[in-house]
């Protein structure tokens, strides 16, 4: 720990004051504007924040008021959060791309009195719903462009408010000092709304204790110091950004860099070269795709070198990174590869200096994960929630794998419920859902344990947590073993030839699966192999296609068998559906998630066939065409058996 620990660091503004004392001349924030990286030191930041805080006081902001923040990542908006906290108000960052309705709900729910908006776009959205915001006093906007002619009765420009604040320092300075001194460790630090994929968004109240304790623990865990550089480009309303760009940045005093615009993020990443980097899997995936596309266009020599070097990296890179033993020649080869390929490639990606990288949010494909690890980028996974102030589990250096999410983070206790659901308790556990005691009570029990809604288990031996599914989808097989359909389906969908898979087995003796082939991939394969077909239905029942799918399933069974906990989920019988699962038929949601119940009911004859041991089933299915007309298709489906792999004995038994 380079920053001094002190008992009076009980609020984020107190950390800010500490940073100004200890790292006054060190860069705290940077933003690229007008083609140049503009920067502010911790000393300058304090002045900016104070001016805005005084400005808010002059507008009559009270302790406990909610100050909403809407806009892209900019130092000014981070300062707005700090200014709100300085006067005892609560910042509520909201998703900048949220539409009117969602913003209206959030602003109304938290009864926001002040809103700090980034630009005209945000102001317009708020003005549209102004009538429903009874408590709203002032909208403070940053970029004046296009707003000059607006009615300024409730609008105020950010910098001019700061000017007013500076002018009022004489008579409001004492009040500001008094408010700052009055803050305690259990006061609310920030309120973050969950994204609301299930029902209305909920306002998660996090206290100073939650944020500061979590930042302290996680910074120690990864040995973060004031020299780190991060790029703040993920939504400010997301708990991850709040923890990385506010909590940890203020705790350790590192520098937060904001990109020029969303489109320039990749260029800015390269220019900054962050040492600590967070991205969801899709960002890594896009980067990899870009690399691959550009390599396709490269000359033959370059392509040959790339392929050769990457094959070697894939073999020894992850081992080197984890500190495992690697032979001398392999080390020499890797060193050469680093000079010619990996180094320049990392530089192009802007990841040369990354000391610690994290991904989270959704499952990351092992190929993708290994690609970055093999280059020597220390990419790790963590598992967390807004309600936990991010951290539940985290992967320590040297214990990184694609299929686990690591061990409980420092200060976090994790236990697995009887139904497999994951519970945790930590200093980061949220205070409550704002104005929603029922939801608070159903999520957090009296002892402070929080239910995640995810099911998982701790791996024997390593103590790593593995997430298998949403808890409500997880069941038991007839013999009492765990049944996690999503886990198997994800493995199957990893094959390009398989578009969708639905696995059954709850309360049954064994698992079975419906498969949808990917018409593009399999059609392409059929063309290359001179297999004639008339359409999806014919292709799906072609013996060679069934052979191919069977091979995929057997391979998947092998991999599932490696897992003592889930080896019961091997697929014993399967069929390839004669139609594609479709949202028009209600089999999927509009976002292409399978509706398990509907599929079960609709194809009950096929399921009966799978469990009844039939070789063939004749079936007729009603379909809805895109124009709404109904029709039906009949087919004779072949039901096949897949070989099961030998199960590993559970070590503990």
């Amino acid at each position: 720990m380079t920053a001094t620990d002190s008992a009076d660091l009980v609020s984020i503004p107190a950390l800010l004051a500490r940073n100004a004392r200890e790292f006054g001349d060190k860069a705290a924030y940077r933003e690229k504007e007008f083609g140049i990286w503009q920067s502010w030191t911790w000393g300058e930041t304090v002045e900016q924040v104070e001016a805005l805080a005084l400005g808010l006081l002059s507008l009559g902001a009270e302790k406990g008021d909610h100050v909403a923040i809407a806009g892209r990542n900019r130092p000014y908006l981070y300062w707005a959060m700090l200014a709100a906290q300085s006067i005892g108000a609560v910042p509520v960052p909201i998703y900048q791309d949220a539409v009117g309705d969602e913003i209206a709900y959030v602003l109304d729910h938290c009864n926001a009195r002040f809103i700090v908006a980034g630009d005209q776009e945000q102001v317009d959205k708020i003005l549209d719903i102004r009538d429903s915001l009874k408590n709203l006093k002032t909208i403070i906007y940053l970029d004046p462009r296009g707003l000059r002619k607006y009615d300024h009765s409730i609008l105020k420009q950010y910098q001019s408010l700061q000017e007013e604040g500076r002018a009022a320092r004489g008579h409001l300075g004492d009040e500001l000092a008094k408010r700052q001194a009055a803050q305690s460790y259990d006061d609310t630090c920030v309120m973050l709304y969950t994204s609301g994929t299930t029902g209305r968004p909920k306002g998660v109240v996090l206290s100073n204790r939650n944020v500061i304790e979590t930042s302290k623990n996680s910074s120690q865990f990864d040995d973060l110091g004031p020299g780190e550089e991060v790029l703040a480009y993920l939504p400010m309303a997301w708990v991850g950004d709040y923890t990385f760009s506010m909590g940890q940045a203020l705790w350790t005093g590192f520098c937060v860099n904001c990109p020029e615009s969303a489109e320039t993020m990749m260029t800015d990443l390269r220019e900054i070269g962050p040492t600590y980097y967070f991205a969801p899997p899709r960002v890594f995936e896009n980067q990899l795709t870009n690399v691959m596309i550009r390599m396709e266009d490269a000359g033959r020599l370059k392509k040959w070198m790339f392929d050769k070097a990457m094959a070697h990296a894939k073999r020894v890179g992850p081992a080197l990174l984890s500190g495992a033993s690697v032979g001398f020649m392999d080390r020499v080869k890797y060193f050469l590869g680093d000079i010619f390929i990996y180094g320049p490639l990392k530089n192009t990606l802007g990841l040369s200096r990354v000391r610690i990288g994290y991904t989270a949010g959704e499952a990351i494909g092992p190929e993708l994960f290994d690609f970055y690890r093999s280059l020597g980028i220390n990419l790790k996974q963590l598992y967390g929630q807004t309600e936990a102030t991010v951290y539940v589990t985290i992967q320590p250096d040297g214990e990184v794998r694609a299929d686990t999410v690591g061990v409980p983070a420092p200060g976090v206790e994790v236990r697995i419920g009887d139904n497999g659901e994951i519970y945790y308790r930590s200093p980061g556990v949220f205070v409550e859902y704002y104005n929603n005691p029922e939801s608070t009570a159903s999520t957090k029990d009296a002892e402070g344990w929080v239910a995640t809604g995810d099911a998982g288990f701790f791996e024997e031996g390593t103590g790593h947590l593995r997430i298998i599914d949403r808890a409500k989808d997880v069941g038991k097989m007839a013999d009492g073993r765990l049944f996690a359909p999503k886990y198997v389906e994800n493995k199957l969908k990893f094959y390009p030839n398989i578009l969708e898979a639905v696995v059954f087995g709850n309360n049954r003796d064994y698992c079975t699966a419906f498969i949808n082939i990917d018409l593009n991939a399999v059609g392409n394969w059929a063309e290359r192999n001179n297999i004639a077909y008339g359409g999806y239905q014919e292709l799906s029942q072609h013996p060679k296609v069934l052979d191919m799918i069977q091979a995929h399933i057997e391979e998947t069974n092998q991999s599932i068998a490696q897992d003592p906990m889930l080896s019961g989920c091997q697929v014993r019988r399967f069929l390839v559906l004669h139609k594609e699962l479709d949202a028009d038929d209600g089999e999927m949601t509009r976002t292409r998630k399978v509706r398990r119940r509907t599929v079960e009911d609709k194809f009950d004859d096929l399921i009966a066939g799978l469990y009844g041991g039939a070789q063939f089933v004749e079936t007729t299915t009603e379909v809805t065409y895109e124009d709404g007309r109904k029709g039906s298709i009949s087919a004779k489906l072949e039901l096949r058996d897949a070989a099961l792999a030998a199960e590993q004995q559970v070590a503990a038994q």
């Binding site: 083609g35 462009r145 296009g146 000059r148 002619k149 615009s261």
Partner: protein, 272 residues
Amino acid sequence: MFDQAESFVTADGRTIGAVMMEMKNITLRFGGVVAIKDISFDVREGEIRAIIGPNGAGKSSMLNVISGFYHPQEGEVWYKGARRPEMKPFEVARQGIARTFQNIALFEGMSVLDNVMTGRLNHMKSGILSQAIWYGKAEREETENREVVERVIDFLEIQHIRKTPVSRLPYGLKKRVELARALAADPKILLLDEPMAGMNVEEKEDMSRFILDVNDEFGTTIVLIEHDMGVVMDLSDRVVVMDYGKKIGDGPPDEVRNNQAVIDAYLGVAHD
């Protein structure tokens, strides 16, 4: 509404100033072909003035007369209260009149930044020699001009293509870069020759937004030629309608829309 009063404020809160440029009885001939026949109209400070008309009506010729590229055989151009003598285009540009072209005229091999920088050429006074050795005044000037250019780049939201060669850009962005170059010259009057030709609806909306913002933010007077009637009616304060080299209408959009001569010109009526 549009009398000779010094200035007034429109319904949406914009200030329209006094007459800035006046075209008096302009006639332009190419040999025997009369491209423009005895046309007069004025442009007021701070307004958005549209010139519309069917193909071959003489709109681009009119813009070329304003920019000094063509010299009319008859008639006078008055600018800022004085009659403008016959000028070369670069002299006109120095007076604060910048333009974009119907067919994009950028330096394809140069980056966006360099292209926009060329818009500042009229503001650079250091000699070739000092520019070549990058010394003293030249260096200072470049820094100052780069600052102006960066503000334009920020304004038109083209930061992400700053270093991209123009040849690699899609059409819609090229149009925006051209606007950026014209804006970099810090013009009093901006001439836009079909700024939205060939764009899709979304690109048109973006471009309209930028044109309005330029007018609003910098107070730049804008003269534009456009075919999309919806755009013209939404954007402009006053419209000149041309057909076969003659002026057949002049006034606010609503008035022009209902003008019988204009309707005939667009729907096609047999000409004598």
